[in-house]
């Protein structure tokens, strides 16, 4: 068989693939044959080494998840979706199950909240029916649209408020924890915080790396958008923790008259005025503690 014939058969058998793919394959095989001929083989022998051409092309089509038997001289459909293989799973079975359980719980909680929210319009409808007289159909529809919009806006505002509250609560907790560490463990607390900060910092670096890696894979076409989002979120969380810890360890009040730590471990009374050594905004509980102490001191 001559090279021209060989290439012709390949092109025909693979006609179902995209032109670019076909030409890429043909170019590669042609080059292979030329190299073999450069090494002394005859054209016929070089082509014979490819074996049975139908088998060869069937094997290639399999790689594209196309049925080998679908090859026919009269096939008109030229575009074939190249099915890429499945990506390697990131989560193990158990982790995935745990995650799905958590999501189910979260989903049912969300459902409850949504249901209680949606009961509100019912109240509105009741009042509407009691109060206004329905003059004509058009008026009624306008009213319906109007309070639907109102209900939606209430829903949205409520959601934002919930999110904000949860976030503020989380921040408060974290700040309280840090203040607690500082107040009651003093130097040891600072060392612990510093250590935690370093560990979280390392974690941060890894999550940045992970985010970058998954972003690259995402661009390459792997279906890893979830992983990218998650690593991005972890990065933000770690960053937030590191910044908070850093602020906690190195933050200073501007009008702080005492720069150093008090060994006795309590607040300093200067001219009967309470002077906070630590950052005031840090812990509400700490403030309460001070207020109590103040009360005791003045008592």
């Amino acid at each position: 068989m001559k090279k021209v014939e060989f290439i012709d058969i390949i092109r025909t058998n693979l006609s179902v693939l995209e032109d670019r793919e076909i030409e890429d394959i043909v170019a590669e095989y042609e080059q292979h044959i030329d190299m073999k001929m450069a090494n002394g083989l005859s054209e016929e022998d070089a082509i014979e080494d490819f074996g049975d051409l139908t088998e060869l092309t069937a094997g290639i089509l399999e790689a594209y998840h196309v049925k080998g038997s679908a090859v026919s001289a009269g096939s008109v459909n030229k575009s074939v979706e190249v099915k890429k293989g499945e990506s390697v799973g990131i989560l193990s079975e158990e982790a995935a199950e745990k995650a799905s359980d958590f999501m189910k719980k979260a989903g049912s909680v969300a459902k409850d909240i949504a249901r209680s929210i949606l009961k509100l319009p019912g109240k509105f409808i009741g009042e509407l029916k009691k109060g206004e007289a329905v003059t004509n159909k058009r008026g009624f529809i306008e009213n319906a649209v109007h309070f639907f919009m109102k209900a939606v806006s209430i829903l949205i505002r409520f959601t934002f408020r919930c999110i904000k509250k949860a976030f503020m609560f989380g921040v408060k907790c974290f700040k309280w924890l840090i203040g607690f560490c500082k107040k009651y463990f003093k130097l040891a607390g600072k060392i612990i915080l510093g250590f935690a900060g370093i560990i979280i910092g390392i974690f941060l670096l890894f999550s940045i790396f992970g985010m970058g890696l998954s972003a690259v894979l995402l661009v390459l076409g792997y279906p890893v958008i979830g992983v990218t989002v998650i690593t991005g979120g972890v990065t933000l969380i770690c960053l937030g923790c590191v910044i908070t810890i850093y602020a906690a360890l190195f933050g200073k009040k501007d009008d702080n008259k005492n720069a150093g730590m008090n060994d006795s471990g309590s607040e300093i009374l200067v001219d009967n005025e309470k002077i906070e050594i630590d950052d005031d905004c840090f812990s509400e509980l700490g403030n309460n503690y001070i207020k109590v102490k103040e009360g005791v001191a003045h008592a």
Binding site: I60, A63, Y222
Partner: protein, 105 residues
């Protein structure tokens, strides 16, 4: 050599050959032929499949001796895959050897 044996281990050999060095088709066929006697008709479809499964990446590199050559490079997913394959092969080969040793007694 038995065709089934060759078929079973071909993927492992092809992937392992490219772990340390990117190779183009002809070079790869030569390398693999040193271990098992296979022809282009078997190797090229396998290369195509491994590429479409993202275990390989390909790129064109200029060459002094003619048109640019298509090089095969193993990906991270390919490395994970071949390490798994190798473990499976070693375990499999050991079990078969053990079995044969038993039968000799």
């Amino acid at each position: 050599m038995n065709a089934q044996f060759k078929k079973g281990v071909l993927e492992l050999i092809v992937l392992k050959s490219v772990v340390n060095k990117d190779m183009y088709g002809y070079e790869l066929v030569e390398e693999v032929s040193k271990v098992v006697d296979v022809n282009e008709g078997t190797i090229y479809p396998l290369l195509k499949r491994l590429t479409n499964d993202h275990h390989f990446e390909t790129y064109l590199k200029e060459s002094t001796e003619g048109p640019p050559r298509k090089y095969y490079h193993i990906t991270a997913s390919g490395i994970m895959y071949v390490e798994n394959l190798e473990d499976e092969w070693v375990e499999f080969a050991n079990r078969v050897s053990e079995f044969l040793k038993e039968k000799k007694k």
